[in-house]
Amino acid sequence: MENIVDIKTPISEEDVRKLKAGDFVRLTGEKVYIVANSNVAGILLDSIDKGQPIFDLKGSVIYHCPCGLEKLDGGYRVRWVGATTSMMSEPVTPRLIELGARVIMGKGGMGKATLQAMQHYGAVYLATVGATSSLLVRGVSKVLKMVHPDIWLCQLEVSNFGPAIVGMDAHGRNLFDEVMEAARQKASEIMAQWGQVGKS
């Protein structure tokens, strides 16, 4: 495998500006927030706007994950922790990055506004492999703070979580967009062959 970059939270701007699209990253630290989608992020942003922030976003990881949280005596255990589709969080992500999030993690990539915020403030998108929950759960050490178990809003401590792939970097590259653009070109070529058959 390629070299893996180990990154610890809180993550600095310098840490993420060093990363390039296609790098492999493993995460360790206590500032990993499970914020599965825009609705859940809305609750977090509301708390910040009201001056009573649920989490401190500076140097944090936002993970798009509807995880499986099992209540135990005195806390919670994470049973499953795979990523969900990140585009569901596109409307709120630029603001989360502006407020200090350095890593946005999920699957499937994100849009232009998020990429611009990543360039401007210094942040990256980490792509986990979809449907690899059992593998990823081994990287979770514990649930540090539970805010709302029904919507999975909580803070995790992770250790060697991943490796995930830098899908969007702080230098304006979005691997997902690049791949889809090339794919569209290929599809046009595939369809054009029938056009040529028709003409000949």
């Binding site: 795979g82 499937g108 690899t132 997902f176 889809m180």
Partner: protein, 296 residues
């Protein structure tokens, strides 16, 4: 001898658990094959993690994907089979799912009301689980297949009913590629793609969905359809969308097509996909109460 409700409940629960914790052998083989032939380093690393996840899920007795899905059960019901009591198969399946949460392995998921997105109790929903019954004339057994359908893999299906052309390779390829580009990388490729041709609204969609359940590597018995499957798979993989949309040689593990006759001069088409784990599990329940797990 009648098959007891208790057996139906237990087998339903066990099948759904197996479907959530394992990946069918044919899919595992296809992933290994993809790993051996893939030229993209990013794709290979991700295929490796997928294969590792299958092993870790087994070691840790854990699930493959956090999305336990909307439960679908496909039943092939032998016409000589008798069920105990009122024979309420659907209720037995529902009880089996409830048991998954109430007893070990304690798996749960909640489905929402489409009118207001209010979640229901674990595993309980309006009109769910979806149970489809087909008949096996003269057989004295039931084949039961659990098919969890996750959110991502449920979002990109498409049906078009008034296509004023017959289903040429060009036509179907264009339809599949258009649907594929709508989905992009968002439903965990490499995909298992199902295509339905012909029928009506529900039947064409059903053809596409059940086509995603066909064992990988098994082509359609009609050689024209089989050829179309191979050619469209080639086109899909040429796009280079690759594993999880980060590029590579393999975008789909299979394109499976099924077809039925339709009304004159129009061709319904349906597209459905499944995410890479292709989760499903089957068992055969015999009239004497014995159960054999595995593909029926």
């Amino acid at each position: 001898m009648a098959i007891s409700t208790e057996i139906l409940v237990n087998v339903s629960a066990r099948l759904y658990e197996i479907a959530c914790k394992t990946v069918p052998a044919d899919v595992q083989n296809a992933l290994k094959e993809a790993y051996n032939h893939e030229s993209s380093c990013l794709a290979r690393e991700q295929l490796k993690q997928m294969l590792e996840n299958i092993s870790v899920a087994k070691e840790d007795d854990n699930i493959i994907c956090q999305d336990l899905g909307l439960p679908h059960f496909f039943v092939k019901y032998g016409t000589r089979v008798q069920l105990e009591g009122d024979g309420d198969l659907r209720s037995a399946v529902s009880k089996g799912l409830k048991k998954l949460y109430e007893e070990p392995p304690h798996l749960w998921t909640r489905h929402v009301n489409p009118l207001n997105w209010a979640p229901g109790p674990n595993w309980e929903g309006i009109g769910t689980p979806f149970v489809y019954v087909d008949l096996l004339p003269g057989a004295d057994y039931i084949q039961l297949t659990a098919f969890p359908k996750g959110t991502g893999s449920s979002m990109w299906g498409k049906v078009t009913l008034y296509e004023p052309k017959h289903a040429t390779l060009e036509h179907v390829t264009k339809f599949v590629l258009d649907c594929l580009f709508d989905a992009g990388p968002r439903a965990c490729p490499p995909y298992i793609i199902g295509v339905g041709i012909g029928g009506t609204l529900d039947s064409v969609a059903h053809l596409a969905k059940t086509a995603t359940m066909r064992p990988l590597g098994k082509k359609h018995p009609n050689p024209d359809i089989a050829r179309m499957e191979t050619q469209i798979l080639g086109s899909v993989n040429k796009t280079g969308i690759g594993v999880m949309g980060l590029g590579g040689d393999i975008t789909a593990l299979a394109v499976n097509i099924d077809y039925a006759s339709t009304h004159s001069y129009r061709t319904p088409l349906a597209f459905e996909l499944n995410c890479w784990p292709g989760r499903q599990a089957s068992a055969t329940i015999y009239s004497d109460g014995s159960v054999k797990y595995g593909v029926g």
